[in-house]
Symmetry: C2
Subunit: 315 residues, 2 copies
């Protein structure tokens, strides 16, 4: 499979490395100039499951990606706020048989992708792999993980491509699973981020530490209820109890993990994706004439924390 990985940060690097090691043709598109320079000069360097690896892959700024149109897949693993621009800039790389796959954190990316691409060309999913960018020239990839994806429509070619992608990814060790309703799954993952990612960032702790506090359960339930309320309006019926237990499974599965927004803001002083997580729920609740005060407050708190730290996107 020929894959253009759009966004070669921590997560993009894991997928690129595993896919390339399994014999797929991988090309990288990266916005951050410091990172891009390192990729072009020294290749992709990572501590991959305990082993130092270095792999040279073609890497380009998005504007400079060669206008080949034989990519099978453009895999988006960038920061949420960069997605719209990146999709638009990479449109020339979409040939007649190219699919987009978005495995990014956050809700609402489906709307962004289908603004530029036909619904029949978009695969959606999410990943429970973790990744950490330690330096512009190094990523740290530990912990077990998995990913799941599916097609946005019943179009047979698209469904077939979803199955093929699952197989290719699994053969590469990425533990992929096919989703019947990827929108549902993305929303359910949104609950994980809207609780653990946000609260660990505000409270500066890891997932297990948060989970050990006696009040964690009550907070998780309250926030998930707001997600469910908005999901209902978007045709997604979220089982609150199930979604809560999905969140709470993370305490043991990825307990030592400091979630992505923690890494962005607390470690790297960069803006977070909270607008695509709790912020999505807050603004869409408002759109439907509802109130999601907790998501609204959490979004506000994260933004104040960003403002306090003068978070700057040095991309």
């Amino acid at each position: 499979m020929k894959v253009l990985v759009a966004g070669a940060g921590g997560m993009g690097s894991r997928f690129a490395l595993k896919l390339a090691q399994a014999g797929n043709e991988v090309v990288l598109a990266e916005t951050w100039s410091k990172r891009l320079q390192s990729l072009q000069t020294d290749g992709l360097q990572a501590d991959l499951d305990g082993q130092e690896v270095q792999l040279k892959l073609p890497a380009y700024a998005p504007e400079a990606v060669p206008r080949e149109t034989d990519y099978d897949l453009v895999l988006f693993l960038t920061k949420s706020m960069q997605l719209a621009d990146l999709v638009r800039i990479l449109l020339p790389a979409f040939g007649p048989h190219t699919y987009a796959l978005c495995l990014m954190n956050g809700i609402g990316h489906e709307q962004t992708l289908t603004k530029y691409l036909p619904r029949e060309r978009v695969l959606l999913g999410n990943t429970m792999w973790t990744a950490q960018m330690t330096r512009p020239d190094h990523v740290h990839l530990a912990d077990d993980g998995s990913c799941e994806l599916g097609s946005l429509t019943d179009d047979p070619d698209q469904v077939k491509m979803a199955v093929t992608t699952v197989n290719v990814f699994s053969q590469a060790g990425l533990k992929a699973h096919l989703l019947e309703d990827p929108r549902y799954s993305v929303f359910r993952k949104g609950c994980v981020n809207g609780t653990l990612n946000t609260l660990c960032t505000l409270l500066e702790c890891n997932v297990a530490e948060f989970g050990q506090t006696p009040l964690a359960h009550e907070l998780v339930v309250k926030v998930v209820k707001e997600f469910a309320m908005v999901g209902e309006k978007e045709g997604l019926h979220l089982d609150v109890a199930e979604a809560v237990s999905h969140v709470e499974d993370c305490y043991s599965v990825i307990g030592e993990h400091y979630p992505s927004m923690y890494q962005d803001l607390v470690k790297n002083n960069r803006p977070t994706e909270v607008d695509y997580i709790n912020g999505y729920v807050a603004t869409h609740a408002k759109k439907y004439g509802l109130a999601a005060p907790l998501c609204e407050l959490l979004t506000g708190e994260v933004h104040v924390k960003e403002q306090l730290q003068n978070a700057k996107n040095d991309v």
Copy 2:
């Protein structure tokens, strides 16, 4: 005036020192054994407005306070969670002409005091002085401040005592002002704590830093609205715009200040008074069949932060 200062922490020390320096008879009651020991051995030591002072005052554990009944005033400046016990233990110090004055942070102390004492014996107010306990044997008292107090009823003796107290305090340099409706004032001060104290504690910043963030105003308004909603049910009409501007005045007046809960939790790893601030609004909203989701979430977040730090009250 003969004053028993119940709680010789940072704030109690300021009042005790200033009152004693102005010639009043001051006795200290202190629960924390480490602190008490230092008071008994070395006296009250402080950096008071830039000058090192040391003053020996009689200091006792609450149970050991001599059963004299000629105190004019028992001034409560302890932590909220200790108030009920302390009032009960100090009842033997209340003679026929002794008044209680509570200037503590937090809402609901009036109910605690009037459970043990007649309403006609209780003065209530609050203070904008700041204080910081640097070590068990040292307090740091900088910044300008003021305090305000009034009587809970129209009883002429009580009103007279409120006026006398204001005069004595002002003569001691404590800049006291008479309040017509102290309950209102306490609630209004509650808004300052429920926004700045809580958010600076969660976001680990000082008052000015929080005030400089573009989102501060919006967050303050939302939280103050919940206070106003509960106040209304308790016969206190809070002017939201006025209360908000009262909060925002603090950005310049006490900008460099790290509020009390920040000091308790972040600096000293002790539990906070949030249950008497946002927690009061959250539980009382519920009692009146209303919802105060922001105060509820903020209270929960502070408690999770306490639990994360294993905050232990080493009193």
